[in-house]
Subunit: 228 residues, 2 copies
Amino acid sequence: MGDCCETEQGVYVDSLLNLEWLRKSLVREEDSIIFSLIERSKYPINSRLYDESAAASLLHLFIKESEAVQAKTGRYTSPEENAFFPASLPPPQHKLVETFGTYQGDDDRNYAATAASDLACLQALSRRIHYGKFVAEVKFRDSPQDYTPAILAKDREGLMKLLTFESVEEAIKKRVEKKAMVFGQEVELQENGNYYKVKPELVSQLYGEWVIPLTKFVQVEYLLRRLD
Amino acid sequence: MGDCCETEQGVYVDSLLNLEWLRKSLVREEDSIIFSLIERSKYPINSRLYDESAAASLLHLFIKESEAVQAKTGRYTSPEENAFFPASLPPPQHKLVETFGTYQGDDDRNYAATAASDLACLQALSRRIHYGKFVAEVKFRDSPQDYTPAILAKDREGLMKLLTFESVEEAIKKRVEKKAMVFGQEVELQENGNYYKVKPELVSQLYGEWVIPLTKFVQVEYLLRRLD
């Protein structure tokens, strides 16, 4: 066959040539495209990013260097992937990527795309959790008389109590569960069943067990240093 | 104030200390977290990515190198951003990032986050468009008798006609518009108005004017080389 699949053999490439599987993939890519557009809409134009008065725009450099990192992780050995700047990309460098064994059940070898996806998750979680510092600062400024004694006494438990509003936490957990149902549903022109791409109750649990406690941990640590 | 905002002054940092703005940002981050979880769920576990039998896991290396690229683009000069591997990150390198002028209306200086977001859009679009090659290959294998004469005659128009199904294209455009409405809505525990983060009709237009024509362009180019 043509140049689309020469680099790879086996089960995965076979699945790429199954029309039903391709249809599903194309429909799934719609979600990725729309999520990425929505995420881009979080930021203003930031037109300096595209300024080509220098030799190359900042975006150009960013994409080129990001693609190099992803190439080292083997992104462009996947038959579905095509780099924007394919010239002089580095080869896959890690011994895990270089080992071409058989595919496992848990393994489609999209390591770089998976890692990029993990990084996006981790950065979103980190950003959300570290916002706690700004919230803590505002709360401190609003009522220093409440926080100052606990800070001076290094009273972590007291600070934690001041920062805890159970009804707010419950509302957040309910809202993220609802969001996971809305954003994770299969959208078809005809109505269909309730299948969610990510379990909504797991997202609520992630918030209850990790995001909210870690945010409060960051807040307490921030406040403990506030009067230094 | 504390260490959360020492590096920056001005309008932007002031807005970080406005409770209503912070609340909105935290709610918006929920969407980013959930989108990123849904995107991660596209891939299997890919457990080799996390294998720490080498000095560092592939994910570790990927994040470290990606953060270096983002640092060069100034990501960690934003007060909301915190690197996972902050030791020995390179400084912002591009003259655009290094120039600290006043903020413009279109500019919040989140250049690296914006560029990462652009890259995610572009990669999703590219992946979707290049899937066309696999679709073209399947179609060719299913009915070589239809495609072979047009390929041999280098008849682009004829190939384009064979690949065009207007009712399918209309259904795709309608579906992506519906998806943009579902995924882009503001989700609150109480119902609220119809505000969409990205204009649904623009997504439909993006598909109609760019994604579908470019996919067919890729398919025609693929098929023209199919018998070489």
